[in-house]
Symmetry: C2
Subunit: 595 residues, 2 copies
Amino acid sequence: MTTATRLAALRQLMAERAYDACVIPRADEHLGEYIPRHNERLLWATGFSGSAGMAVVLREGAGIFVDGRYTVQVRQQVSADDFSYHHLIDEPPLQWLRSSLQPGARVAVDPRLHNLQWLRQAADELAAAGMELCTDTDNLVDRSWQDRPVAEIAPALLLDESFTGESSASKRKRIGAAVKALEADAALVFAPDSVSWLLNLRGQDIPCLPVLQSLALLWADGALDLLVEPARMPAGWQQHCGEGVRMHAPDEAEALLGAQAGKRVLADPVTANAWSQLLLEQGGATLVPGTDPVILPKACKNAVEVAGARAAHVRDGAAVVRFLAWLDGEQAAGRLYNEAELADRLLEFRAGGEHFQGPSFETISAAGGNAAMCHYSHRNGTPAALSPDSVYLVDSGGQYSDGTTDITRTVAIGKPGADVRRMFTLVLKGHIALDRARFPKGTTGTHLDVLARQHLWREGHDYDHGTGHGVGAFLSVHEGPQRIAKAWAPVPLQPGMIVSNEPGYYRDGAFGIRCENLVVVTEVPGQLETPMYGFEALTLAPFDRRLLDLALLDAGEVRWLDAYHEQVASTVGPLLSEADRGWLQEACAPLAAGC
Amino acid sequence: MTTATRLAALRQLMAERAYDACVIPRADEHLGEYIPRHNERLLWATGFSGSAGMAVVLREGAGIFVDGRYTVQVRQQVSADDFSYHHLIDEPPLQWLRSSLQPGARVAVDPRLHNLQWLRQAADELAAAGMELCTDTDNLVDRSWQDRPVAEIAPALLLDESFTGESSASKRKRIGAAVKALEADAALVFAPDSVSWLLNLRGQDIPCLPVLQSLALLWADGALDLLVEPARMPAGWQQHCGEGVRMHAPDEAEALLGAQAGKRVLADPVTANAWSQLLLEQGGATLVPGTDPVILPKACKNAVEVAGARAAHVRDGAAVVRFLAWLDGEQAAGRLYNEAELADRLLEFRAGGEHFQGPSFETISAAGGNAAMCHYSHRNGTPAALSPDSVYLVDSGGQYSDGTTDITRTVAIGKPGADVRRMFTLVLKGHIALDRARFPKGTTGTHLDVLARQHLWREGHDYDHGTGHGVGAFLSVHEGPQRIAKAWAPVPLQPGMIVSNEPGYYRDGAFGIRCENLVVVTEVPGQLETPMYGFEALTLAPFDRRLLDLALLDAGEVRWLDAYHEQVASTVGPLLSEADRGWLQEACAPLAAGC
């Protein structure tokens, strides 16, 4: 079926329903980062496979809207015969719609695929131009899509309290009380990772992202109405989740959400889809706009979750060390593998670890100049082979029942030049400065971001990505509200939050460097004027000493690196074979002893 | 006249006009930091002299609302017989009004004394409770105030282009074009310092703040309608300001602002008062909400303004150095003066300087534990005398025709203890780190704030104020949009912006330390991957080497301090007497040579 045929089918349906335009975002009803194959509607309609974008199909003509990352890719994947190209930010779809259509035009939008804020603004903007936004949940793409894949449905895992540290009943009770304090009767818990954390369940049907695809209403008394495909709920879930959890199949959504007349329901107009909130409102409930009340408690890991993260990182560190030792042996033997082989090999080392559930994201395995592309994937073309006297960047992570990992190491292949070593050292100095930071209660990631960049800035360099993202507890490898970035992050860092520390440097076509550990926020002990927090590294694997320009490190930085390496050797060493342990000891030898 | 008598007079008027409540903010019609005596309405009505607050007078009973800084002071100055005390943030006046009055109540508000955003929200909140907000510019306090001081009116200065670097016509033309680009016909230029900068005029009737009390409409073609007391305009202003400036007396305000039917007028609902915007709107103009378009161009000083600032700082540095040398001589002779005598002496040293126009703010002259209060004023009680083996903090500045200065130095009196020296050194390390920062285009002050705090944070300390504020060019010593603080500052730092660098440390009842220079943002020369900016110090006076704990300084910090002191000695030295120059050379001797 060609794109033209697909568009013809869509236009046929549009004509039947008297629509003049149809909006197709890259989103499914959970509005998350991950879209399962059967919900890749934008890909089906256009051929565009990027992670963000939107198409608008008119009766005649159509436009596709992507951001700066995808202006090249969209031209490779989408024919100008079918779609005109537009910049998502500079020439937004609504503006284009208003200039392309006449007053009286009807625009079809699936309210499950947009947040409420967007939908309301779109309705206002179209109304101002005399046009009508028509919400339609009988999705036009789904109706036209003949060979649509079937949704994967696997039963969720019951995650034991030895991993979660708190029962679902306890979580629901305390967050219910917080909902009540906001003068609401219930909260719409929309994000699948929020629901999963609240119920101590983990999904098994999405690669890398162990969430239960579902949404819920959490009541002030801790009771919860769960909207979920029943086949996703494993035997024994009632006992596991505790009293007060009522399951509803997806086709009961309208009956449930539409029957809350008189209730005040906390809902986030930016992260929750419009459909769920419109159902509540149309049924007579009052929406109380506010943040998902699960996000902050979920981000502040309890003692059991932090201990689990530490344990998972020891096993993960052992896998990474085995991989690095193997890689060194292979390169010494003159065998230079390609990026795909290396990624596969690393996965094999992880796969044997206790509690391993799968990777936490698709490994970035990048040789030479490929590493200069921050979001490089060796799957998009022919994987490159390692080349002598260069660096190899590998960014990977694992999902374990007791924690989620995410680590980047940059590895010397042969003898990289002085310039590469200089840049590696500047990046590592930033990593160390951030790791060593102490900061008072109330400090956010935006305040600390400069610590990781200052040494690059001094030399006129920078990197064009955030310094750190939040990480879940056997949940999404990207979670909020914590992050370390130039953009303003209003929520302060708090004990138990896990965040990545990953400064980098990228030179187009030449090389890429990133030094990434996960760290956990802890309270600094002692009698201080102000409560002070700091970071403790969770990730345990050596940084490549062969890439250091020792002249650029000060005494404190050398002490930090030696202490970190000593910790790696003493915690990970015991899990290794004698040969690997020998490699690790050499990799972790004190710098003071020379390098 | 007692407060009770004043309240009776107010209530008499309220009864005549059928008001149930009257709102009295601490503000005048310019909504600025400075309030002239004849506009101190809150002080008149309540006796409270703090810099922020609000009173609400009911037919029976009244409330006063202050923030955390003033909870003690308000109880000292205001009798509980007349007013109940409330926290301005935790128990806001509108909430209290709604709970104190019945539906149908009428609340009098002078729209000249509130911004539009506040007024609209207040009207909405009262309306929701069935009450009415009544705008009344025939101010109830003014009508009741029998011995009200007369406003001071002095003619403005014509500031020569040799100081401003750009004619008023040129400024009005380029900012007019920016107004046009925002699809507006005109901008309401509300802030007196914006008008003063735009017209190259400076007021002479407010202490410390050389602004022309006025407001203006700037048209897209550069023409300008100026609302100002005619007696404030000096002879020759027309020629000085150039073509297209039309003067209107204050009583023509309604005629002018009310006659713009069909025009689109850019106005800032947060910084401009409600009255001016309501007049525009009632006259048929359309308000375009947006920032005052003068603020950013004014903040980015041109080459002439920066050169002027440098020149003013050499003269100001000479005055400060003479004062510090004199102080050392006096303390060596065993003469320890009090805070008032010291402040007066410093002003005398400044007063002789070329282009000196007066202080830029009221000097903070604080001995010993008084310096732990960030906003201490020796005028609020008996000035304390210096005490042996302590530190003296002096924060002062001058207005010169070519620039505004603001400097804080902390001075050893006798031999302060090791703890004081340790804290001074940590503060100075932060000052140095911020001064040395390099940062890419797009960086804001919020990103850099941590550099000044990091060394204090490491030891568990912090200071409870911003690190830096913007400074005008012979204008307000506090100007935006630039600042360096924890709170999010969205506008990036740009070349030509002047900002203070003033970390501190305060120990209650014991001592206070602050190290403050003004610095200007400059572009780092050379071929760099990214345009990089840095700071160059404008302020020229030695930091007290006797307060250093040399063991805490690293080699780079020592180099910075030696280089800075060398610059101070070589630029300021030539202006001094031989004796003072000898003192300066000793104060600026390299640390490398011992201390």
